[in-house]
Amino acid sequence: MSRGARRVGIAALALMVISAITVMVVMRPWSTGSSSDLRALPGQAAGQAPIASAASNAPNALLARGAYLARAGNCAGCHTARGGEPYAGGRPIVTPFGTVYTSNLTPDPETGLGAWTPDDFWRAMHEGRSRDGRALTPAFPYTEFTRMTRADADAIHAWLRSLSPVRAPNRPNALRFPWNQPLLTELWRLVYFRPTAFVPDDARDAAFNRGAYLVEVLGHCGACHTARDSLGGAEGVPLAGAELAELGWYAPSLLGNREAAVGQWTQDETLEWLATGINRHAIAAGPMAAVVTGSLQYLERSDLQSMAVYLQAIALPDSGGPRVQGLGRKIVLPSAGDPMLAGGERLYAKHCAECHGDKGELAAPGYPPLAGNRLFAMNSPVNAIRAVLHGGFAPATAAKPRPFSMPPFGPQLDDREIAAIVTWLRNTWGQRGTRVEARQVNALRSVPAD
């Protein structure tokens, strides 16, 4: 029995035993299980007026602080639909358990947070409970935000209340059974969640602790970079990398220098990467590019420096092997005579060398060359496959507003050809990595490009 299946079994048993207790403890009148039905309650007008006037009296410094913290937490990244009003929600978040539609954070009294007090907002961030007491779906990363300071939560709340209200009713989540059952969320919380506070490490300096707070709490990096078990709870070493299967991306390890750790970068290189997603070693792509453009590029230099200090401190010494983690797994490396390598080398010469150079040495100014590029050293080949399949532009930021782009080769090359190219790139110029199979390429052809 696999570990995941065992967990499901345990959880099912626990569900039966604990459900009665849970109901007694929580004493919530569960309705149909849609996580939005309660959100649609009419606004409770009595509570609104004083809160609104409180918001208008909020000092500018508090609002500026809240705006900055909302950037650092990238609230808009999830709470804004494509082409929609900022913070009005409606963006689909695809999870292994179904789709969650983000909520309206603007102060509209009926469809947004208009009726929410600072205490309500604090409870959502710290305890993961909505204004009515209902447990929020952990797709909202309250597992990370729980350690946010009350002052930061209050500042974000004050700033959200200063936005123009947008009338945008929340869309019901489309979670599969049993994940659409509020009781299961309560149970999940018993197993995986405790409200807790950020405790600075007194043995470390202020920069380290600020960096830890930014990475682990506000930036909620673990939401992607920490692996999940079959029930969606954090699993294994935090920030050690995770497949984002529904998105078709891999969130590389922030601990391993062969992946996304910054242990071998200078602080300037780390700052450049955090603020622009581009340096001479690596380019941010996909969800990370969104984090750079929507959040990190706006952070104060001192905060980026703190993040760099923290990220450099958590980087592990290089293991020298093809993998930093997953050591228990069987690793199949292609043999020297694997025809896939010869095929990949031939295809590289035909399709890639013109721009990237015969030895992978060419790069746009300030961009990473392919030779020695960590994109091909990662445990997972997913991001490398996507780079070839879908191409795309590097992140555009205030400092680098005209990024270079890579053509999509999906229309030109078949699955086997792309698998061969990536396999070869994972096994040349000093790299050593697992074979890529055509089916892995094929699976990524159909992931949502959005």
């Binding site: 082409g83 453009t293 746009a364 060359p369 191409g391 795309g392 400092a399 890579m406």
Partner: protein
Amino acid sequence: MALAALALKPLPARAIDPVGPGAAFNAATSSIASTPGAGAPSEAADTLARRLAACTSCHGPQGRASPEGYLPRIAGKPAGYLYNQLRQFREGRRAVPVMTWMVDRLPDPYLLEMAQYFAAQHPPYPRPQTVTLDAAARERGRLLVTNGDASRSVPACTACHGTALLGAQPAIPGLLGLPQDYLNAQLGAWREGVRNAVAPDCMATIAKRLAPQDIAAITGWLASQPVPAGARAAMSLPADMPLECGGLAP
């Protein structure tokens, strides 16, 4: 010809990325830029064309995609039109996942620069497609394109897209030199609501007034028209447009 056109409309040459205001790490970039070092990778030429390699890999060098494929030629289309489309893709109003992926989160000034770049390209048009269309349908197509159908309040294509059908500055696209499949898909997308412009969406209104056989006649006729050498989008339209088009707003 293309080179001459480029010479007439030179794009601003920019050797390095301008550094925008407000970026916290400016000092970091400048220190890196000033220390190329022995270990620095060889750098490829920094031209806009190279930055836009993703565009030209599908739309052809200079954006000259021919009617042999499905993808539209973008070379020489008015910059305002191209810019508007890039924004529509980014905001999800046009449902073309690969284009949304490409322009996702790119800032307006860069999209405008791309639009201006391709608008300034004028490679020669290839011979038109050979289109299978019987004589009656061909004549029906010609009439709809040049006269419209007053009985259904369908204006002539030429009323907005120019008498030469090569578009009008600043934001109306030409209709010639495009694959019939592409033209069919656009009119179909407007009918079905998967291609949208800012309201009022004039082309959606018109497409919904057309019968499927009308669409085939129009696109077949358009796709079989040769494009005269040196032809360009009109600088202006001779008369007011018959419909209001929100998508043309700046």
